[in-house]
């Protein structure tokens, strides 16, 4: 790809986008299409933000491809084109395995309606009313009802059903039962639409196609370019400073974390006191740990499912799921069908939720031991699904909240942005400082691949409106 070296970028753009997560890339794409000049700056050497991958031991490991809702089909077609849309395929086998139940599902509404009745003995009336309730939820509805209360209302005392409904969403966006029920309803309904989908060709193909599209539209892309400051004068955005160089811009879109943006890139002194008061209440979501297993070439594994929600904990608990020694993890299994054009490759990615503070405080030796122990726990669990897996694996890598922090620069390595209150801060940034916008995971609902892209479109509309005003 022909990216632009920093010393070759223009002195001025209509828009500078800081960060190339899916939200930042989508903003850049939409605004370039609308006729504005756009510079996309990325601190890392690779585009994509958390939509990323890496190569190790002859394997390609996808970090966050796990599965997204059907809405990606329409969103990708409209905002990224047919080639990207046409590579979206369904994952058929979503597996739950825990002490309360074991089942395989397409994770679609039809299948869940069936499972809730047949396996969990819930009446058709209750199931229909539950789905009607979550389907009708909007982000501007009353936020006081929590997901815990929602579940208690429809499925009182049924911790098994709470687990079925909540566990996947806790992995998807770090939410807990104490979040506003609307955040649950919106995300859960998105998935229930038709099930879980993936991108054939892998994350590297997706980001490659997106980068090509951006270059095609004339976006200047500059990697290895960490922005130091967003320049603000008299309440108006003027540009950015990157590696000591000033680049002027009418609008700046930060696809850095919202907390980084306000605390570090702009500086709190540029904001009004009441805004900072609201901002101080924003909580970042938890981070993640992952263990990546590459299967030796020539070896294979049978179909154990595409995405496995596994736990040996007695009941669902989002607190348990964030513990360093959690017994709960997902396994995303990538078969050769993931990259049909490439030589057959099997990889398995174990993912766990995690708290940054647990990992940040460890000494180098304790950190190394904690990672080894985590890898062993993943191996032990994986052995139940792939007997003899230790002998089949030739490559192992692991990531902790520290790793996520290093690559995304997010406050406390958050994998899912902020809790609900962060959405209002992100949306109202441009009311504080003219020409300053934020896009990225906030408010739980603007999270995940679909949430990030759609939020990119929403913010691009705001920016376009500002630039044409």
């Amino acid at each position: 790809m022909q990216y632009t070296p920093l010393d070759k970028v223009q002195p001025q753009y209509d828009v500078v986008v800081i960060g190339s997560g899916l939200g930042g890339m989508t903003c850049a794409n939409r605004l370039a299409e609308a006729g504005h000049t756009v510079l996309l700056l990325e601190h890392h050497v690779q585009l994509g933000g958390l939509a990323t991958w890496f190569k190790r031991g002859g394997h390609i490991f996808d970090v966050s491809l796990h599965g997204f809702p059907y809405g990606m089909v329409k969103t990708c077609k409209k905002y990224w084109g047919r080639a990207i849309r046409d590579s979206i395929i369904q994952l058929q086998h979503i597996v739950f395995d825990n002490p309360q139940f074991s089942l395989t599902t397409t994770f679609s509404k039809d299948d869940f309606i069936r499972i809730l009745q047949e396996r969990f003995g819930v009446s058709q009336t209750v199931v229909s009313e539950f789905f009607a309730t979550v389907d009708a939820m909007n982000f501007y509805d009353d936020q006081r009802l929590t997901t815990r209360e929602l579940f208690a209302q429809f499925f009182p005392g049924r911790s098994d059903i709470h687990r079925l409904l909540m566990e996947p969403i806790t992995y998807a966006n770090g939410s807990t039962l104490d979040e506003p029920a609307i955040t649950y309803g919106i995300v859960f309904s998105n998935f229930m639409n038709r099930g879980v989908f993936t991108f054939e060709g892998g994350t590297d193909k997706l980001i490659g196609l997106m980068a090509a599209e951006l270059l095609n539209k004339g976006v200047d892309i500059c990697t290895g370019a960490r922005v130091e400051r967003i320049l603000v004068e008299d309440g108006v955005t003027r540009g950015v400073v990157v590696k000591g160089r000033e680049i002027k811009a009418t609008a700046v879109i930060s696809n850095a974390g919202i907390t980084n943006t306000i605390d570090n890139l702009v500086g709190p002194e540029q904001f009004a006191a009441d805004f900072l008061g609201r901002f101080s209440k924003v909580q970042v979501n938890n981070s993640s740990c992952q263990v990546y297993f590459g299967i030796r070439k020539g070896e294979s594994i049978g179909n154990i499912g595409d995405l496995l929600f596994t736990s040996t904990a007695a009941e669902f608990s989002s607190e348990e799921m964030r513990r360093m020694d959690t017994k709960s993890r997902t396994f995303s299994v990538y078969y050769p069908k993931t990259r049909p054009q490439a030589p057959p490759d099997y990889t398995i990615v174990a993912s766990m939720n995690a708290d940054y503070d647990d990992w940040a405080k460890l000494s180098p030796e304790a950190y190394r031991l904690a990672k080894e122990a985590m890898i062993e726990r993943c191996f032990d669990d994986l052995e139940r699904y792939v007997p003899g897996v230790r002998a089949k694996v030739d490559t192992i890598e692991s990531a902790t909240p520290r790793t996520f922090h290093r690559y995304t620069l997010h406050t406390k390595g958050t994998s899912f942005g902020t809790k609900f209150e962060g959405l209002d801060i992100s949306r109202s940034l441009h009311k504080q400082i003219d020409g300053l916008f934020h896009v990225g995971s906030v408010g739980i609902i603007m999270s995940g691949w679909l949430g990030a892209i759609n939020y990119g479109v929403i913010v691009a509309n705001d920016v376009d409106s500002y630039l044409r005003s």
């Binding site: 939409r30 609308a34 006729g35 969103t75 409209k78 759609n454 479109v457 929403i458 691009a460 509309n461 376009d464 409106s465 044409r468 005003s469």
Partner: protein, 83 residues
């Protein structure tokens, strides 16, 4: 622009968003959302396209005016009269 021209523009924009949209039995008075496979993101696309074509700024609180084909035309007619 005349009312008919505005109507054609709206339908053309919707067709760009969804080429499978079927206008044959479209009731101009009924919400577009209920008749075509449109969601809130699609309405945002219509807003952005109108801004691109006619430099028309539609504030967020007025998005509901775009609900049906008839309400679109009523809302846009004074704004596009000199186009």
């Amino acid at each position: 622009m005349t009312r008919d021209e505005i109507k054609d523009v709206i339908l053309e924009i919707i067709e760009d968003i969804d080429e499978e949209a079927d206008f044959a039995n479209l009731d101009a008075e009924a919400p577009l959302r209920d008749q075509l496979d449109l969601d809130s993101m699609d309405f945002l696309d219509i807003v952005m396209e109108l801004r691109k074509r006619y430099k028309l700024q539609i504030p967020e609180e007025e998005y509901p005016q775009l609900a049906s084909l008839a309400s679109c035309v009523n809302y846009l007619e004074p704004k596009l009269k000199d186009v």
